[in-house]
Amino acid sequence: MGAQIRVYRQKIASTTSMRKIFKAMELIATSRIGKARARVAASQPYAHAITRAVSAVASQSQVDHPLTTEPTQVRRAAVVVMTADRGLAGSYSASVLKQAEGLIELLHSEGKEVKTYLVGRKAQAYFDFRSRAYTRVWTGGTDAPEYSTAQEISKVILEDFATDFAEGGVEEIHVVYTRFKSMVTQEPTVVRLLPLEVVEEEETPATELLPLYEFEPETEQVLDALLPRYIESRIFAAMLQAAASELAARQRAMKSAGDNATELIKKYTRLRNTARQAEITQELTEIVAGADALAS
C-alpha cells in the first residue's frame, strides 16, 4: 500500500520536472518565432527585386539560357529535403519527409533516377537508418539559416545541373520544404526550382508593365549573373520559411506536451490521494477490527 503512494509521488515529481522543460522550450520557441518571421520579412525586398529583374529579363529577351530551357527528356532529378536539426517539433520533420517520399516515388514512377540532398539532421537520421543513399547533407542551423548556407546549396545543385547526365548530372531540381502560412498552419510544399519558371510570391498588379530595359553589359551576362542569385534567393527563402515553420511546430508541440503533463499530474495526484485514503481506511478498519476482537 505505502509502495503505491511512493510510486505515484515519483511519477508526479518526474512529470513536474518534464513540464518545466516543455514550458521552457515553448517559451524559447515563441520568442524565436518572432525573429524568424522578421527575417522572412527582411528577405522579402531582395526577393521581390530579384524576381522583378528576372521576370524583366526573361520576358524581354529571347535568350536561351540553360537554366530556363526545358530539357527534352528528364532522366535524373534532384530533390532537396529541408527538415529540422532537432526533434521535439511534433510532426514537422515527419511530414516533410513523407512529402519527399511521395515525390521520390512519383519521380521513380516516371522513370527518373533521384538524387537526394538533405538539410537537417532529422533527414540525415531518417536516410541513415534506412541505409539509403543521399548525395549531400547540410546540418546545423536549420532554425536560424545563414545566407552562406543557401549559397553553398545552390552552388552544389547548380553545378550538378550544369553537369551532363552521363557524368551524374541532374536535369530537374525539386525542393521540399515547409511553407509558413500562419502560426497555426504550416504545410509541406514541393517546388520545382529548375528548370526555372519565374514565380512571384505576390502577384504584381497587372497595370504595372515592365519597362524595356537596357542591359549592361550584355543580356546574356546579366542573365548569367541574375539566375544563380535568383536560385540562391529562392533557396534562402525556403530555408527561412522552413525555420519559421519549425519553430512554430516546436512551440505547438511543446504547448501540447506541457498541457498533457498538467493533465497527467492531475490524474496522478488523484490516484495518489485515493491510494492514501484507501490506506487510511484500511488502517482504521484494522484498528476497529482489532479492538472488536479484544472486546469480545
Partner: protein, 91 residues
C-alpha cells in the same frame, strides 16, 4: 526637379532607401552615373563602392561585393549580395 527614388537591399536585410539626386555605381564594364530621367537599365554591379547623393544630407557611400541594379521610372533598386553603409549618415 525630379529626383530618384533609391532603394538598397541586401540578401537578408534592407539597407537604405530615400530620395536622391545622383547615384554613382560601378558596373562590370565601368562607372555609371544615374540622374533622374535615366532610361530603364539593368546592370551588373562590380565589387566596390557606390555613392549616392541624397536630396538632403551628405553623400552616402555603400560598399557592395557584387549584385545588380535596375533603373526604371526614376526608381533605382540596388540589389547587393552584401551591402555595407560606410559612414554614420544612416540613422
Amino acid at each position: 526637379m525630379a529626383e530618384l527614388d533609391v532603394e538598397i537591399v541586401a540578401a537578408d536585410h534592407f539597407v537604405w532607401s530615400g530620395a536622391a539626386k545622383v547615384v554613382n555605381a560601378r558596373t562590370s564594364d565601368g562607372a555609371i552615373g544615374v540622374l533622374p530621367g535615366h532610361s530603364p537599365l539593368l546592370a551588373i554591379l562590380a565589387e566596390g563602392e557606390l555613392s549616392i547623393e541624397p536630396v538632403t544630407g551628405t553623400r552616402i557611400h555603400v560598399t557592395v561585393d557584387g549584385g545588380f541594379f535596375s533603373v526604371d521610372n526614376d526608381r533605382v533598386v540596388i540589389v547587393a549580395d552584401n551591402a555595407q553603409l560606410n559612414d554614420s549618415v544612416a540613422a
